[in-house]
């Protein structure tokens, strides 16, 4: 028996997984650059949240058309993975449709349903492509969606289209070989969709058909391996990260912003209040965030999880009124900067060497940060619970507490609060004047 193809397959498989594991490791290293944040509480609630939001896609329905198309592609890819498992086993062992022997009739129905799913995925992908490129839905054409993000989005669709097409072509030629009792091709599987493609190949010589079937089989699996390793460089990483992203999401009510307990004792001392000695003050050496190192690891993971769908920006009041702020861009910038920092560290053998850049100003401008109304619409809109607002708030904190770079009006407002206890220049003693006014 010729074992060369099996060896070649195993080699490619190992290579694909080697690169994939390498990418995951890079991802882990980069995310670990973030500060710690405790999200290990409430395990039950977190698991439920992940099952609901990531697995069950509960938030995708807000846009019903995209929601339905997305669920088809999602279910399609998950279920067709069973077929992928068989392909891998066949590839290693040199068998053909090995599961057929063990599954009997069930196998036929499985293959049949995969085919129907594959067709539905193809149709959905065409719809997705049309929504981007023909209907030109506005959120896909915002300024931050130029160049790579635009190409990336289209590339993913091309990948999916070709993979599914190859799957059907492979089945179609396989089915013809089965019809001809070609050696090694046992009768297995129903082919409701790929049977329709048979006329394309029916006139071909049987040996040529065999070469075609093998070519489709190899191209299909190799493209999947390439796609697997493309993930790291793509917004498509969400298919993996949506799960941890929703598990580690902030479960607090949206209005509750993080309290920096590290400064509480200092403030109490300043106010002359009794110091509660239940904690040691560890006043941080830096307030807020100016670079990715200052964000926490969940915020960094958020940036890798972002699919750039733009639902956040399409509901952002600032973005809707033509301001520069786009919550999606906040996430994309964070990821780009994190990648830059990650490769800097890799190049310099584990140490970050200053590149005189940071997330603030080089990526995200003050103009963007000050346009936010903190309305939480972006957080509410994200289908996988990314929190752009927390990054905006951390960066504002840096601007105000480290740099005193708030807009003049806000500085006036804050000194009013300091001096009079109100954001306007009114005397605090006059708080009850309204009781003396008529009407």
């Amino acid at each position: 028996m010729d074992i060369l193809p099996n060896l070649l397959f195993s080699f490619i498989l190992i290579l694909a997984f080697y690169f994939f594991v390498n990418n995951i490791y890079k991802l882990y290293k980069n995310i670990s650059l973030g500060k710690s944040v405790n999200r290990s509480d409430n395990r039950k609630k977190r698991i439920l949240n992940m099952l609901c939001v990531a697995f069950g896609q509960s938030k995708m329905g807000a846009k019903p058309i995209a929601g339905i198309l997305h669920i088809i592609v999602y279910v399609g890819f998950i279920i067709i993975n069973i077929e992928l498992l068989e392909i891998v086993v066949d590839g290693i062992l040199g068998t053909h449709r090995i599961f057929a022997d063990y599954m009997g009739e069930l196998y036929n129905y499985l293959i049949g349903s995969f085919e129907i799913l594959a067709l539905l995925v193809l149709i959905s992908v065409i719809f997705f492509w049309a929504r981007r490129n023909i209907l030109k839905i506005e959120r896909f054409w915002k300024p931050e969606m130029k160049n790579w993000p635009k190409k990336d989005a289209d590339l993913i669709l091309y990948f999916e289209f070709i993979i599914m097409t190859l799957f059907l072509l492979m089945n179609s030629t396989d089915s013809l070989l089965q019809d001809n009792n070609y050696e090694g091709y046992v009768k297995a599987g129903f082919f409701p969709i790929s049977d329709l493609l048979k006329p394309l190949f029916v006139s071909f010589d049987i040996n040529y058909l065999f070469i075609l079937e093998r070519s489709f089989w190899w191209m299909h699996i190799i493209l999947i391996f390439i796609f697997l390793n493309y993930l790291y460089y793509s917004k498509h990483l969400h298919i993996l990260l949506a799960f941890p992203n929703t598990y580690y999401a902030n479960l607090n009510i949206k209005g509750m912003f993080d309290i920096d307990k590290n400064i509480t004792n200092e403030v109490k001392l300043m106010l002359g209040f009794e110091n509660s000695n239940d904690q040691n003050d560890q006043v941080p050496d830096k307030f807020g965030a100016s670079d990715v190192f200052d964000l926490n690891w969940v915020q960094l993971m958020n940036s890798y999880s972002c699919t750039e769908c733009g639902r956040c920006s399409s509901v952002c009041p600032a973005n809707l009124t033509g301001k520069k702020l786009s919550p999606r861009k906040i996430m994309m910038d964070t990821r780009d900067r994190l990648e830059e920092v990650g490769s800097n560290i890799f190049k310099n053998k584990g140490k970050f060497v200053s590149d005189n850049k940071q997330l603030l100003n080089n990526y995200i401008t003050k103009e963007e940060l000050w346009a936010c109304t903190s309305c939480n619409a972006c957080v509410e809109a994200c289908p996988i619970e990314i929190d752009p607002l927390s990054i905006i708030m951390d960066m504002r904190k840096y601007l105000v507490m480290e740099k005193s770079e708030a807009p003049v009006d806000l500085n006036n407002m804050m000194s009013n609060i300091e001096n009079n206890g109100a954001p306007w220049p009114f005397n605090n003693q006059d708080r009850m004047l309204w009781t003396k006014e008529n009407n």
Binding site: D260, T321, C375, N376, M413, M414, I417, P423, R431, T435
Partner: protein, 257 residues
């Protein structure tokens, strides 16, 4: 208008059922003071024993915190918590969703644990307990669209209480294109109230006012003094004859208080 302060009440050895946290807008801004007064009238009419902090109240710290000034926020929060705890305050009601959110969600970690109600929630409770009756039919059949304040809606998931109160007026409640969890901000949140907006092609309050006017309402209902200011400005800009009224004003008005 006679409004007791906590200091006065405690010197008489009395304790109110609830503290009315007025907020800076409700104390100083002319438009918002009307909301404060309307709510006081309802409280008096329902025989609720309440008190205010008066000069002992200080900014909740919300605009400082949303601006990024955690230090100033904690100064304000700890000062206020100190005042509130001195009087053993347990229940607080406020007409400002920003104060409501800050007191309810951000004070507990700093030692201020109270039952905090937004006035729409409080009025709903009064209604359920029978202490408040809404029988006036002044707004019967009137088209009212309700604008969700971000810090009451998305931030605290309260979409029902204000709507139930409007329906109680037998008014015709209209929903805007963006409402409830999908509501559009009025443009004042995140300390935007106190600064000029960044460059864009439109002001946020204008966009929101347009959404409200699309429902062809007689009245735009609000439940936040800042939203009220923003929407009132929007209406002025559009030169439309539509009034912007707070939930408390609607009820006080319906009952001729």
């Amino acid at each position: 208008m006679k409004v007791p302060t906590l200091l006065e009440m405690s010197s008489r050895g009395e304790k109110p059922e609830v503290v009315f946290w007025i907020g800076c807008a409700g104390s100083f801004d002319d438009r918002s003071k009307k909301i404060t007064k309307a709510f006081v009238k309802i409280l008096n009419n329902s025989n609720i024993s309440f008190a205010v902090l008066g000069a002992e109240e200080s900014c909740s710290g919300d605009p400082a915190k949303r601006s990024g000034n955690e230090f100033l926020f904690q100064i304000q929060a700890l000062k206020n918590i100190n005042s509130l705890n001195n009087y053993n305050v347990t229940d607080i009601v406020t007409t400002c969703p920003h104060c409501f959110n800050t007191l309810k969600n951000e004070y507990p970690e700093l030692g201020g644990k109270y039952n905090v109600f937004h006035h729409s929630q409080f009025l709903k409770r009064l209604l359920l307990s029978g202490k408040l009756k809404v029988e006036g039919e002044k707004f019967k059949g009137k088209k009212i669209t309700y604008h969700d304040p971000c810090y009451l809606g998305r931030a605290n998931n309260e979409y029902k209480a204000p709507r139930e109160l409007i329906e109680k007026l037998k008014a015709n409640l209209l929903e805007m294109k963006n409402s409830k969890s999908n509501g559009l901000c009025c443009g004042a949140g995140g300390a935007q109230m106190f600064k000029e907006p960044e460059k864009g092609n439109k002001d946020i309050n204008i966009l929101r006012t347009e959404q409200a006017l699309d429902t062809k309402p007689d009245i735009i209902a609000a439940a936040c003094p800042f939203c009220n200011i923003m929407m009132t400005d929007g209406i002025k800009n559009k030169e439309k004859d539509v009034s912007v009224m707070d939930i408390a004003e609607l009820i006080a008005n319906a009952e001729d208080l």
